[in-house]
Symmetry: C2
Subunit: 349 residues, 2 copies
């Protein structure tokens, strides 16, 4: 029981995540477009600052077969955190909005929820009571919405949600709130034969339902937190059922552990935005090849959100200290990025 | 404790595996060679039987964009069991030979093992007593040899072992005992844009230490059983330490579960040789795309080994029944394969 509560509390802190923006990155097969883009500026939404120059210089160096720092293609593993790194994560992880929306949708089959916490609070949009329900309450909401179905059913539910849901203050779909500069970076790395992965505290099956299209990253390169599952032969129509029990939390030390379990190679390039990414950065920094550690620092209170050391979500404190100490590259979102979201491109260019 | 013993017993049954033969399959980048091979017979070590024809007909059908059975490249996931499917597994899983050899190597640092079972039995080549030590004894041997080191150290240990060890009756390195026809099949599938995976009950880190080269399958496409690990920042020289506790058994229902966890897509092509692969086959057979299920039946007592329903290793009983019932393709090793091992090619061609 104690363990269950600990799990729930870990869940709350990490398990929520997502992705966004339908227009970009289905370009893996589109070599002509890619080559043309390469000849132009591969990172057009980045200002010409040290951050951009560091990235370009690194990629040029390690892909140059004449360089002492050359990295063979098979070892060009690049891992990206998701929440706050590839898409926004405020005011709460977007996966939590999915939980709340889903509870409301399920409520018609659960009339008892009208009088039962923490469900009652969700139905009444009473965020204070939800918060007060603590890890146990939120864990209950999470398992109610994530377990008890098959992998196919859950996939369809998330797809329906992302197609319709809107961010409460930005008033666009959550999948529109991805970072245009990071989409360009992912594409630039792939054009240079890096294999790009998402390594997120968010739920892996939640992400897989829509991340592939947006980021151009296939399902098998999405790594995240997950719940336990069971196989049911189901009289010849086999299904995998999702159980109300955590299997793995892909955060903090869980990130390098899961990278080793699933990829089996140390990344040469890692990107994150919080202390939850620090161990992944440390692991990457220990690569025998020249490696690149990239932190996103949320400094833009106007176009996005500004937060770091004191934030309840995406806290960046120890990570920022180590980045400064080790000379890792830190993106100053306000000054390094011309635009934040893809939909701003229409106005800017 | 009961659980620990259950784990150990599961271990014994499944956790041992490997791979072999250094010459083949580093061909992923060698398009010219590949195309030329394609124009010739892509499966030269297979006799012209129904088995071979079924495979060729399937691949031609699902890769033909005019066919109703066309499968998009991103969904061409092919999963292969390892022991008894890509390399031999008799008289015991080759990973068990690693365990025994390793105990002998470690013995100089453990003088107490001379009088302590099950170590004493290993040092005295007393297989009967090893067997009698049961799941608990063998589990102890397994954890002694697989845990207590870092991922890098373990990788180096396995590499050293495979470079020197010899099979007790075949008198060649274990890595020479891979199946030439299966190497050709892997390559043929990759030439047709299938993504080939190993999905084995064997230890994933054990396999990764040498499988990549032999099968032409990168580390991130090797899936297997694994023990738990922990991250240690280690004063700026981070390591991942291997712990004496099972994390996941990649066998029976564990195979589809792990495929879903790690790949996130249902395979369209699966190949195995025992009842431990049956759930993977069933999962594959339920693909919305036309799928192919391939069982290796060990029928060649002269060139390899002959065993099936009664074998203590690689038991094929329920799987054979279902294959026959559903019309899955079953390789009759004796009649379908011109050669078994790559080293026979020199004599045959």
């Amino acid at each position: 029981m104690k363990n269950t509560i600990k799990f729930y509390s870990l869940i709350l802190i990490f398990l929520f995540t997502l992705v966004s923006s339908k227009q970009e990155t289905k370009t893996e097969n589109n070599s002509a477009v890619k080559i043309e883009a390469q000849e132009k500026d591969p990172l057009p939404s980045w200002n010409d600052t040290n951050t951009k120059n560091n990235i370009l210089a690194y990629v040029k160096d390690v892909t140059n077969s004449e360089s002492n720092n050359f990295i063979p293609v098979k070892d060009r593993i690049a891992t990206f955190d998701n929440d706050g790194n590839l898409w926004s994560e405020q005011p709460v992880y977007f996966q939590l909005f999915f939980v709340l929306d889903r509870i409301k949708e399920m409520a018609s089959e659960h009339p008892e929820w009208k009088d039962q916490q923490p469900f009652k609070a969700v139905l009444e949009d009473d965020m204070e009571t939800i918060k007060k329900s603590g890890m146990k309450g939120i864990g209950q909401l999470l398992m109610t919405t994530h377990a008890g179905n098959t992998t196919e059913e859950f996939n369809a539910i998330v797809k329906d949600w992302i197609a319709a849901a809107k961010h409460p203050t930005k008033n666009v779909g959550y999948d529109k709130l991805v970072y245009q500069p990071m989409l360009e970076l992912l594409q630039y790395l792939r054009a240079n034969d890096f294999k790009t992965y998402v390594v997120s505290g968010g739920g892996v099956d939640f992400m897989r339902a829509f991340v592939t299209e947006i980021y151009g990253i296939p399902e098998e390169q999405i790594i995240g937190s997950r719940i336990k599952t069971e196989f049911d032969y189901n009289n010849g129509n086999p299904v995998i059922r999702r159980l109300a029990e955590l299997d793995f939390i892909d955060d903090k030390e869980g990130k390098p552990l899961n990278i080793q379990k699933i990829i089996g190679k140390k990344p040469v390039f890692s990107s994150g935005n919080s202390d939850g990414d620090l161990q992944m950065m440390q692991w990457t920094a220990s690569n025998k090849y020249k490696s690149f550690m990239l932190y996103v620092h949320h400094t833009d209170s106007v176009r996005e959100w500004a937060y770091d050391r004191e934030s309840h979500i995406g806290k960046l404190d120890k990570g920022l200290d180590q980045a400064n100490k080790e000379g890792w590259t830190v993106i100053d979102m306000k000054n390094d990025w011309k635009v934040i979201y893809p939909f701003e491109l229409v106005n800017n260019q």
